[in-house]
Amino acid sequence: MAALTRKDFTSDQDVRWCPGCGDYSILANVQKVMPELDVPRENVVFVSGIGCSSRFPYYMDTYGFHTIHGRAPAFASGIKASRPELSVWVVTGDGDGLSIGGNHLLHVLRRNLDLQVLLFNNRVYGLTKGQYSPTSREGMKTKSTPQGAIDHPVDPIAFALGAGATFVARTIDVDAPHLQEMLHRAHAHPGTAFVEILQNCPVYNDHEWEEVEDRKTRVHANLAVHDGEPLVYGPKGARKGIRIADGVPSIVNLGDEDDPIAAGVAVHDEASPSPSYAFALASMQRPDFPVPTGVFRAVEKPTYESMLQAQLDHAAEERGPADLRALLESGDTWTVEG
């Protein structure tokens, strides 16, 4: 069979996101990466909930299930637990995944089914026309918060770490190479891979991520983390590093010739035995800190479906194949003579 291309993963449906939506870039990159994953197209399933991001499955020429608000992780769990050979991708947003669906996101992450969760975070409700979301900044003025939002926001990365996720990453809608790398990493991870994608909503929350999307400002506003490398960012002449002491990050200025490690800059460790280092990274928010992107955490634990399969196999070995007659006649029975 000829190698598949991006086109093979593009459905015949017109894409109906607003012009300029960050979802276009994410869709294009997912379609680009799919053929590179070496998964038969018929084994790929995209599952979504409700919201702008959740229209995603309609545009992929794979199996797709557009479900109900917030529950995509639960549908995906049923699919993956019953058919472990399928490659299951959950597409959700900050409202779908962290508001109405927060409970399901928590539980899919802790169960560690081998599937990918892509959470498009634009910090606003788009499909319902512009209310604030659980990731919106405090004070954000929207139709439902004319005096400003008074909720304290949730950070998706910290949420995923708290849920015990084994793979947690963040990337940016318009950064194609990085987004593709994160998709590859997420797919390769054996367990639930959570990827927050910073995504622009040009209609209701334009410029939310401009500092990290714009090449000029990004060098100051974004810290790309790489396993085994020190946490360093900034242009030549204004290099900075991140120290982490007692779980609290701080910024150190670095001369061009300074050795970051000697200067106490933390070295990125995806597989740190404790998640507290990753939590410290997740606590870094604008404007005080650069926004970290990359893989925050990648550790291995047995997957739910592999342990389920082990129980099925063990039971079959120990108790033999299903025997309905033996079951019905098990225990105390008696015969009534004619």
Partner: protein, 613 residues
């Protein structure tokens, strides 16, 4: 077994109720008495009735747990309206149950528990026994003291010794009614060891010997084997039968099962039972909530499994939105709702049949599902098998309604011959030629089951209205009209795939009693007794509540009067009146308890005497 020193009387039927604190082990001895009665060969029917609290304060009315068993040498269908014998372990149990006992019946009390403090705690102002002696045969037995004496040489704490006292009562009743105790002994040996095993075995026998030697019981009784259909039998509760029905569907349809469930009373036992059957390929998934339970099941149905979710009222309501998605995406899903008394949390361990309208009409918009109801504990097995057949062959969600009474009640069940069980055909689409997700079988209108992993059938489905045939998103007005009608018509056509409804009794006449679900035993027994007395009454029991059987309207029209009896405020009654414009009357009961035969009979007599006037 009992010595023949004392005279033995033969009885046709007896109902015994054991009652005590919820920690006293009433359900255990009830179940053991039931097993030995079944093995002995009587027909039987049981009714466990217990509080939701695991350990309510000792001696309180709220904590009283009861187990009633009715056994007979003839065909019986209910746990009996009134127990002939009540065995109580404390004053609270007496207070909660004495009013139910047949006048002139026997009340066996553990006299050691009738301290003035306990009597007061039960809410009695004075010792209740003198007054009760006037209406009942009250037998006072020092059960606690005799238990401790029997165990005096064992190195157990008093507390541990006292925990066996339920087996004293079981031994006593086993002697009084000539029940074999071997199955109980076997069970004890598998469950306990050392001194605890010795204690329970010894106390069980001490209870028997006490009956034999004491003058308190001058006579013992036998209830001869029942003259029931020849064959091999076992005891079964509704919840076990539901679980085994799921297993049978898997075997008969050659498909693995996925159960998504969240613990809820009284449905959890089905999850527990199915979790034991990994070797049948059963995947049980204890979800984080009711919504995830149904959602995961729909995911598994989409992926090609026989998918089921089990729940009870409040949980069922949480599933409704996802159930609507299963309607929209036309996936085969079985939802089992073991109804309980509500609204809201209601009375979790008490029975009711009040979720019918919620099942029919409780989702947003026009959202038809197939609705089936089980009639007896054993029938739960066949209903589930039927539910999976309809779900898969017609590509539709099917809701099975059971109730708290069926869930925990036991009856002797003729073990089905596996070879004679249906083997419903399962069709899965594999041919990409001309495939579209919403094409339909011309007869059933079912769409193809096209599961992930099938090359060439990649497609998208979802909760947004879909275009006929293609399944693409569509907001077209005419298409929506068509799709709403197609979904309704698909379910309606299932009436052609069901056997006609048959009346119990004549198929025409003066009065037709209509019921559904777990009231079958009481309704049938009342109607049969009335017919035996020469009354012109028949009954029907509706198993397919949506769609209704094709001949239902005709049957209703053949009777001058129609009575709908149900444990709600008139749900089937409303459906029948709306559908068939029949001026049916309603017998409603919402006490959290099943119908008594006498209540139905009284209504039958009332309606027939009106007619005669």
């Amino acid at each position: 077994m009992a010595a023949a020193k004392k005279p033995v009387e033969e009885l046709e039927r007896v109902a015994i109720r054991f009652a005590g604190d919820s920690g006293d082990g009433m359900q255990v001895i009830g179940a053991k008495f039931t097993e030995s009665t079944a093995l002995f060969g009587n027909d039987l029917s049981t009714f466990p009735d217990f509080p939701a609290e695991i350990r309510a304060p000792a001696g309180s009315l709220a904590g009283v747990s009861g187990f009633q068993i009715h056994f007979a040498s003839e065909d019986i269908r209910t746990p009996a309206d009134q127990p002939d014998v009540l065995v109580v372990f404390n004053p609270a149990a007496l207070r909660a149950n004495a009013g139910d006992v047949r006048r002139g019946g026997m009340i066996v009390v553990n006299e050691d528990a009738f301290t003035s403090k306990n009597v007061e705690r039960a809410g009695y102002e004075t010792d209740p026994l003198p007054e009760l002696r006037e209406r009942f045969r009250v037998v006072e037995v020092p059960i606690t003291r005799l238990t401790r004496e029997a165990l005096s040489d064992l190195k157990l704490s008093t507390r541990e010794k006292d925990r066996s006292k339920n087996f004293f009562a079981l031994g006593l009743m086993s002697w009084l009614y000539h029940r074999p105790i071997e199955s109980t002994e076997r069970w004890l040996r598998g469950r306990f060891e050392g001194d605890l095993l010795e204690a329970n075995l010894r106390v069980l026998k001490a209870g028997m010997h006490f009956g034999e030697t004491t003058e308190l019981f001058p006579v013992s009784f036998t209830v001869p084997r029942a003259k029931i259909q020849p064959g091999r039998y076992r005891n079964i509760t509704g919840n076990t039968a539901l679980a085994w029905g799921v297993l049978a569907a898997s075997v008969q349809m050659d498909r693995p099962v996925f159960l998504g469930a969240y613990p809820i009373t009284p449905a959890s036992d089905v999850l527990h039972e199915l979790a034991r059957f990994r070797h049948f390929g059963v995947r049980t998934f204890q979800a984080e909530d009711e919504i995830a339970a149904v959602s995961s099941a729909i995911g598994a149905a989409y992926a090609g499994h026989l998918a089921v979710t089990t729940t009870s009222g409040p949980g069922f309501i949480l599933k409704q939105e996802a159930l609507g998605l299963a309607v929209m995406t036309e996936l085969p899903l079985v939802v089992i709702n073991i109804q309980r008394a509500g609204p809201s949390t209601g009375m979790p361990t008490k029975t009711e049949q009040a979720d019918l309208l919620a099942t029919m009409y409780g989702r947003n918009s026009d959202s038809p599902v197939v609705v089936l109801a089980a009639a007896t504990p054993g029938d739960c097995f066949y209903v589930v098998l039927e539910a999976f057949r309809l779900a898969v062959q017609h590509m539709t969600p099917v809701v099975v309604l059971s109730d708290g009474y069926l869930a925990n009640s036991a009856e002797p069940w003729a073990i089905p011959d596996v070879a004679s069980l249906p083997r419903p055909e399962v069709t899965q689409c594999t041919d990409p030629e001309g495939f579209a997700p919403y094409t339909r079988d011309p007869e059933t209108l079912a769409r193809p089951w096209a599961v992930p992993g099938t090359p060439g059938l990649e497609h998208r489905i979802g909760g947004i209205e879909t275009e006929d045939r293609t399944g693409n998103v569509s907001y077209d007005p005419a298409n929506h009209q068509k799709m709403v009608s197609l979904r309704a018509e698909k379910v309606a056509r299932i009436a052609a795939d069901m056997p006609p409804l048959e009346a119990n009794g004549a198929d025409h006449g003066e009065l037709l009693v209509v019921g559904w679900g777990g009231t079958h035993g009481a309704l049938t027994e009342a109607v049969n007794a009335a017919r035996a007395d020469g009354l012109d009454v028949s009954s029907i029991h509706i198993r397919h509540l949506n769609p209704f059987p094709a001949n239902l309207g005709d049957l209703l029209s053949r009777f001058r009067k129609v009575l709908v009896a149900e444990l709600n405020q008139g749900q089937l009654w409303r459906m029948l009146r709306a559908e068939y414009l029949v001026p049916a009357e309603l017998l409603s009961k919402v006490e959290g308890q099943p119908f008594k035969v006498g209540e139905i009979r009284a209504k039958i007599d009332e309606m027939l005497s009106e007619g005669a006037g």
